[in-house]
Amino acid sequence: MEKIHRNSQLMKTGLSVIISVILFTIGCATVQEKEKNVALERARAAYSQAQANPDISANAPVAMHEAAQSLQKAEQVKDVKEMEHLAYLAERQAQLAVAIAERKMAENERERLIKERDKILLEARERELERARSEAEARALELEQARKEAEAKAQESEIARLQSEEAIAKRKQLESELEELKAKQTERGIVLTL
């Protein structure tokens, strides 16, 4: 009777020991699992956020590849410390990829803007040139007009000169004709002796 009682006591103790060992193991496993999740969650989030933007893979492929590799290793490794370390590296590498890609995109944007500025300057200079050219043309036209007017005036004055010369010549001829007629200028007028 007492033997049976002792046996059951022993069984009870054994059972409780087994149960506590199982509970402890489960507890450890869940804690480890939870730690794994917490540490990896940040890395996964950082990586998928970077991956969601196609510009980042395009502009920082090496950094993204390194982040992917670290993340993959972190997912597979058993040792908690090593897993946390790899997850940390993966998270930082994803952030590094974002920073590198943003730098490259900003540099490309600046290159594009420099070209745009040069184009604006060139176009403004061309408009300036065009304006100067049309102004010069207008000036030339004015000059041509003035030249023509001056020419016309010169022609007019030449005609006048010729006319006055002709008149002088006529007068001289008349005077010589009068001389021939031995005309005498007197107080009473011209006296012709025929």
Binding site: L89, R92, Q93, A99
Partner: protein, 130 residues
């Protein structure tokens, strides 16, 4: 004769013991990350030169702290820990540099955008006058 013999046996025992200790410590703790330490130091210098003290102070601080911890771990002969810490210091230094360079590039792009706006306004103004 016998005393001398015992002495040399003792010496051999002590030597073997030390060799064992040395091999044991090397096997269990690995090698100090000496090269990685200098790589991380250089990366931190590069980050500082790229103006990370202002653009990415948090990452730079993390890099410096982790490097310090890595050196302390080497002194404690915790080489595995030192390896991890120095790797983390290096990635933080690289991140600090990348962030400050990207900040600079963004600023330059913005300056160019502003200068184009000014130029456009200037051109518009002078062309209206004529």
């Amino acid at each position: 004769m016998e005393g001398k013999m015992r002495f040399s046996v003792e010496v051999i025992i002590v030597l073997v013991f030390f060799c064992g200790l040395l091999v044991g410590s090397c096997a269990s703790k690995g090698v100090a990350p000496v090269e990685k330490i200098s790589t991380a130091e250089k990366a931190i210098d590069v980050a500082r030169e790229s103006n990370a003290t202002i653009s990415a102070p948090l990452e730079l601080k993390l890099a410096e702290d982790k490097l310090k911890e890595a050196k302390a771990a080497i002194n404690e002969e915790e080489f595995e820990k030192a390896h991890r810490l120095v790797d983390e210091a290096l990635i933080n230094a690289n991140l600090a540099e990348a962030k400050s360079r990207s900040e600079k590039a963004k600023k330059l792009a913005q300056e160019m955008r502003d200068s184009i706006d000014t130029l456009r306004r200037e051109i518009e103004r002078t062309e209206k006058l004529k």
